[in-house]
Subunit: 331 residues, 2 copies
Amino acid sequence: MAEARFDVLGIGSAIVDIIARADEGTLADLGLIKGTMALTDAAKAKAIYDRMGSAIEVSGGSAANTMAGIASLGGSPCFIGKVGPDKLGEIFAHEIKAVGVEFHGGEARPTQRPTATCLILVTPDGQRTMNTFLGACTELGPTDIDPELLKAAQVTYIEGYQWDTPAAKEAIRKSCHTVKSAGRQVALTLSDPFVADRHRAELLGLVRDDVDILFANQDEIFTLYQVSDLDAAAARLREAKVLAIVTRSAEGAMVFDGKTTLTVPAAPVAKVVDTTGAGDLFAAGFLYGYTHGRDLAHCARIGAMAAAEVIGHMGARPEVPLRDLMAKNGL
Amino acid sequence: MAEARFDVLGIGSAIVDIIARADEGTLADLGLIKGTMALTDAAKAKAIYDRMGSAIEVSGGSAANTMAGIASLGGSPCFIGKVGPDKLGEIFAHEIKAVGVEFHGGEARPTQRPTATCLILVTPDGQRTMNTFLGACTELGPTDIDPELLKAAQVTYIEGYQWDTPAAKEAIRKSCHTVKSAGRQVALTLSDPFVADRHRAELLGLVRDDVDILFANQDEIFTLYQVSDLDAAAARLREAKVLAIVTRSAEGAMVFDGKTTLTVPAAPVAKVVDTTGAGDLFAAGFLYGYTHGRDLAHCARIGAMAAAEVIGHMGARPEVPLRDLMAKNGL
């Protein structure tokens, strides 16, 4: 097998986040479910935005955040996602390149839809509630993904979110085939409990047939397998023969490799400011370690440390070079 | 005279800032002059952006920042500035309304130009160097300014920057006439030393004929009057019969009221992170005090405290309610 040009290639939604603090009452008034992601149309997005206070705009997108994290750790990531022909698209592309990610914005088939935005309301407990207007992301299709990029990555990392977009789903199914044929690996994040619920049958099939590494939080894995405890989830993961990492917020993470179960504590956080990107950065740390030959416990500790950094400030991309942070903490 | 609906009405450029850290070498390579504002065309903006690292996007614009500061202090500001028919325009409008400023975006004459952006490079010393692409701002003209708004404000506050835009300049000349006829006051900020230099004759005339309150930093006032010491500047300001506030960074500010000279120290800043907006927020604090009957020394102390807050973080808008900050500090 040729040496991999990329540690990880991410496929996902290219989104600019619009993040504001909000109180619990605002979530209730708007009918939003705390801690989850909901898709919105333009009218609903406007209604939410009108109720939001002062915001900051920063690039986001789950897999894009993960790729930014891998770059910050010193790895070689690539990201494929579709932006619109507008200023936010320029901003998204600038940001991801500026942090050291090779970016392919679906230039093959230009879109006229606007760049996706995600309205994120951060409650005083630091929890984020997300409302995504997919825009240009709905047009990601098979021709936007160059098979040579897939073959050039040790791991291809995909978002469960993509199952909400039929063309993207097809693009990813095709990509998985290319990846497996090339002897590379597929990683999947379940993204959100509602995603796991909406697309259970398809995601279960994907996990069983194609996925080598699965990322999920406890809610998501319970929802996918319709179980209510970790032992039951572990049994299902063993059957699926998948390396699974289940994150559990302040209770740390568990790694199931089919034989043993590792438990890794959460890294300390002085103050939980904004949990946006916590799961994305955990995956970044884990995948960086994984593609650099670290053992699973070490991978999870890098993940926990990267997640702790991003929780400590607004926004889902690291604010300090994660490589330095890891060195300082002996990782 | 009718009671004023607004403490201050600002007229200026409606800009979204794109702010990144940069080293001195990058400024040198790009031929940028530290601490100043330069106008750019699309090609030059692209060249600068390509050299910039990871950025955040936040609403800015000098007079807009000042109005946001007045709102944060508990005052009643209004802002007139022109945005484009795009997402950044929506973001600008959302932000300024979210903080409590009444916003008039020039709806009378829609523009097809994009919302203005300012590429801001912040060097390790905290200094900001700004590169503005004016876009939609170039179309602000007399019909965008409703005379009733001018009459409803105790003070109309205008940017020297507007002298770079012929239509805006005419709009402001006309506005000054309305303001003076209504028995209200005109405040002007010189904005930038190069602005003071480029438009000296016109700005000198404006200060002499129309301006009641002048804001400038030391560089700007020296440039306007082509003097090299504060005594000489003070003499010229006395002749112009203008209330002048000259800010001097860490050395605090001086207030010249035609008779006496007040010196107010800078408020302490733990760490100078980003000086973007320091002058804007000084003006906010001063004008808030001024329109609420405080004495001049008190006005300047509010200004110094507001400037100190905005210097302590990235971006030119306050991150904490300034009203609470003032209360905590006995102002």
